[in-house]
């Protein structure tokens, strides 16, 4: 027993550890903190393994190890490679963490391979999927990825006068006498509303306009009421609206009611809340070359370019698009965030998805750009 028991315990423990490694135990619980390296890293004897090891290092921000694993024929130098993965200029990517990835081989030969990988980023505004095609080559008995060139828009130095209007809000002291502080809330109006039934639930969408002469902070809420007059659900437009509307500006809104069947709804009670808010008429962002197209994955998308006509960097752009049928009715509203920052006087591509069922009906569309700037947040 003196010998057998220790052997059993040691061999048993070792066996269990090997079993755990083979069953692909998870390397970590939480996300977003630079984790340690794995005690064992299998060498990249095939393209899948090479890409897997590379993306694990990207996930754990082991940049030296990751860059050393790249092929020397990569066009991106080390700084470009890191910036491509971590983002720059306070962009959405610079806030994000690589949470997971799904690689899929496109084309493999003895010494060349093309892999398509869906990168799942955890970002402050929700999960974002970024599809990249990576080319790999075999160098000796090890496969290495060839990282594409990372183009950073060159912004010429110039002085841009900003003479747009800026509204500041004085809210008055707390103990003003009754009636003396009567600056009314801005006048906003819902100019269209349409409720649609989808697999995920009911969606209420439309457009709202600021009819006043000062900026308005807007939130649209909707309440679904059944036949008996009782409330089924109450939801808000949340981030599917441009909250700050300048005078005469129009914004789409969309309110999702998960798991609610529109056939049970007798009445939709709309409620728009407007409040005074300090705002600036700058930056102006143009939306150029918009067209409906099909992306690399066969999805129907509205794509175009955002042109920053101002002198400040827009760190995160949020595109909200409303789609109309031939009678001008809003048939869909979708939104998307742009991963890279919008530098002054430069443009970045965007794309928002349109469900197949809706894209045939779409005759026209209108795009609004909401933005977050670290300088002004």
């Amino acid at each position: 027993m003196k010998i057998i028991l220790p052997i059993i315990l040691v061999v048993g423990t070792g066996g269990l550890m090997v079993l755990a490694l083979l069953s692909g135990g998870n390397a970590r619980g939480t996300v977003g903190v630079a984790g340690g390296s794995a005690v064992f890293t299998p060498s990249a004897t095939n393209p899948q393994l090479a890409l897997h090891n590379l993306l694990i290092d990207v996930q754990r921000r082991h940049w030296d190890h990751a860059y050393d694993a790249l092929s020397k024929t990569s066009k991106a130098d080390k700084e470009d490679f890191i910036q491509d993965c971590t983002g720059s200029n306070g962009s959405l990517r610079s806030f994000s963490s690589l949470e997971g990835f799904d690689p899929r081989p496109l084309h493999i030969t003895d010494d060349q391979a093309d892999m398509r990988v869906a990168l799942h980023w955890s970002t402050p505004v929700g999960p974002i999927e970024d599809v990249r095609d990576i080319h790999l080559v075999r160098e000796g008995d090890v496969w290495r990825a060839v990282w594409p060139e990372y183009k950073v828009p060159m912004v010429p130095a110039e002085v841009i006068p900003v003479t747009y209007l800026r509204w500041d809000l004085v809210t008055g002291t707390a103990d003003d006498q009754w009636g003396s502080k009567n600056v009314d809330a801005p006048r906003v109006r819902i100019i269209s509303m349409n409720a649609v039934n989808t697999a995920e639930g009911t969606i209420v969408m439309g457009e709202v306009v600021n009819e006043d002469t000062i900026p308005a902070f807007v939130n649209v809420n909707a309440t679904l009421v059944d036949g008996a007059g009782s409330i089924i659900d109450e939801e808000t437009s949340f981030d599917k609206i441009d909250h700050i509307l300048l005078p005469k500006q129009v914004s789409p809104y969309r309110i999702d009611f998960p798991n609610v069947d529109l056939n049970k709804v007798k009445n939709v009670r709309m409620d728009v809340k407007a409040a005074l808010v300090p705002a600036s008429a700058d930056p102006v962002i143009g939306v150029m070359d918009q067209k409906i197209d099909t992306d690399a994955q066969g999805k129907s998308v509205l794509q175009g370019d955002l042109l920053n006509e101002s002198g400040q960097t827009v760190n995160i752009s949020h595109v909200i698009a409303s789609f109309y049928d031939n009678s001008g009715k809003v048939v869909w509203v979708s939104d998307g965030y742009v991963d890279r920052a919008l530098l002054p006087q430069s443009s970045e591509p965007f794309a928002v998805e349109i469900p197949k069922s809706v894209s045939q009906k779409v005759q026209n569309f209108h795009v609004v750009v909401n933005q977050f700037s670290l300088a002004r947040s």
């Binding site: 009567n182 306009v209 002469t213 005078p247 005469k248 500006q249 939306v287 209108h366």
Partner: protein, 283 residues
Amino acid sequence: MRHVIPICEVLCFLGVTAPQEIRAPQEVVAGEEASIPTTGSGKATLYLFGPGVSDKRDVSLGDDIRLPGADLQNAGQYFAVVCSSACRSASFFVSAAKPSSLTFMAHPSRVPVAEGDAISGVAIPFDKYRNLVLSPETVSFRLSAGKSSIFSRSVPAADGIAWFRAASGKSAGTLQVTASLNDLEMLRAVQQVASEPCNLRITGERNAKGILVRTEPVHDCAGNPVPDGTIVTFTATADGEKSTVDAPIKQDIARAQIAASGLAVISAASGVVMGNELRLGVR
């Protein structure tokens, strides 16, 4: 339901008939001193209940009980209860003093020009202790733009409230809204702003970056310049692609740089108002 005479009579007590008598004062004005004459003799306890006061102190029967003005500042009904061997109670009313302040609410803060019944105001007179003055007073309302007065009316307050409604003026700018009562005067400012843009017209020219499009000075139908910051949405369609820019008006004119090549059809809109359409060929 039994209709009860205006002054509240004491209807029932606990138990015993009491030897002393107290008589409430007829009418007391807020903040003024009052006294309650009593009969009988010996020591007793006075309880005073009213809006803002619940007081208890020892008194001598047979003397007048002095109620200081500081206890009678809030208008309303007061109950004086005098207890010795038993308790006797009397009630009296304190009414508001003369008006010394005016709460005045004018709406809206911003009103389009030349709009009927667009401006309203409510004035409520209070005395110096913030009691509602219910005696019939006349409040004068006046609307003036610069030197010229565009509205003036005297309104008798009903149930302590006077109000008015009036149309907005013709020209944009600040409208002084005044409510006055005797020597009291309260001032509010209402911004008269241009209404919807009228006859929105755009022009455009090609330049190195694409097309520079701009509006002619944007005014409302009364000729008032539309406020700066108002958004004009320029839309250009070329080769099946569409470009839009939400440009704010600056000194009556909105302008935008649109990257469009080939034959471009350009239009503009501000809120729900559409402008003219422009066609620009290839350079």
